[in-house]
Amino acid sequence: MESIQSSRRIMTGNEAVATGVKLSNVKVISAYPITPQTTIVEKLAEMVANGELDAKYIEVESEHSAMASVTASEITGVRSYTASSSHGILYMHENLHWASGMRVPIVMSVVNRAIGPPWSIWGEQTETFNQRDTGWLQIYCESNQEAMDSIILGYKIAENKKVLLPVMNMLDAFTLSHTSEPVDVRNLKTSYDYLGDLDLDFKLDFKNPAGYGSLVAPDGPFMEMRKDMRDSMYNASGLIKSEISNFNEVFDAELPGLTENFMMEDADYALITAGAISSTAKYTVRKLRERGQKVGLIRLYFYRPFPGEEILKAVRGLKGLGVVERNVSYGQRGPTFEDVVSALYRRADVPIRNYVVGLGGRDIRVKDYEKMFENLIEGDNDMEWINVAVR
């Protein structure tokens, strides 16, 4: 293989994302600014303005329109991108279904931010966990490097004809979005060659008019399309794993699989996390290991399709498993907890507990993770709210 040139730079998560978009040869960007996503689209607007990125930048009046614009541009056969946060994602919700139902392989970045009221601009993952049933693949990034790489990988997977569904790429508000880290900027030509041109079997074409997504009767192919979407996502795990290996080889990168197992080999107790909060969890695991405690961590890199088989393999033999959620669901346990329980049902005999952390940007400290491991070992079936002032 030819030498792979990456240049190492210090950049924020949002700058890494914008660079990932440039490396993906995106031709249409449409977005509405919202804290903490703003600097992604600001950077992209700058790139388009100074000629660094040969793309059309469409300014819109809302996130709903942003998603409508990129869905429309993508279906004409042009690679398209948007980004949002929090209330912007909620406002987009209807069009998220349109994008997946129309099978347009868009990639969107979401900078995870809490939902009001009370008003908050800080980190929390509820808005995207709310979108888990929209037919979008979901990736949760732990570092700025991953935030960049996941854009390129996202287009590769989304555009695979066996998948053909949009991809949502998450990074945590401020912790990643506005914090600078060293990032290996992938080589532009390698990235262009890796992705190639967008190749859709069907494109909107003025010379050959056709309806797309219009009315079908109950006996029309409606249920068939839904089943096809579900199968395309559910059966994509193998394909995603091999694409990640391919990506790591092409770019000399270090993306994990659908999940990342950290010190899980001989662990007795483990936590499951997603996103940037995993780094503090890893630090805690290492610290407890030094004290002789057999603990580990499973990090979700992909959340949809849900990596149930990976988790099943990783948890065999555990004495306790804690599912850490940086999101809240009011009438049940957390969504990740439900997914994990469902994946392990009758297949692994592991006590599972649920921890709610870091809502509205609340700090998740090493001592909080220590408390979770303590609770896991002592055993208590209640859902635990960590670092919260009310009982």
């Binding site: 139902g101 079997d201 797309y212 997504g213 079908v216 009767a217 006996d219 192919p221 068939e224 395309s232």
Partner: protein, 96 residues
């Protein structure tokens, strides 16, 4: 390959017959070919055809264009039956 929601045909070529609870049936022996039903049909489900084999009030009507209901497209609203000045269209309940 993914199943895509593409439609090349307009909805007028799709079968809508399952939407009906009753269907219009024309008694051609009363039909004067006035085409009022054709004008009122909100879904363009009535064609005008020349068919000398159709019944008619008298011989001179046979050469005129007569209404013919497109049952694949008729949704059974009954407007044609209501508007027919000669009581030539009866709504007949559909059997499943």
């Amino acid at each position: 390959m993914a199943i895509l929601p593409i439609t090349y045909l307009s909805s007028s070529t799709k079968v809508m017959s399952s939407w009906r609870t009753s269907k219009p049936v024309i008694d051609y022996s009363k039909c004067t070919r006035c085409a009022i039903c054709w004008k009122f049909c909100p879904d363009v489900a009535i064609d005008l055809v020349v068919d000398p084999n159709l019944n008619a009030p008298s011989e001179r009507f046979r050469v005129l264009e007569a209404p013919s209901i497109d049952y694949d497209h008729c949704k059974g609203c009954g407007i044609c039956g209501t508007e027919c000045p000669f009581g030539a269209i009866e709504m007949v309940r559909e059997e499943i």
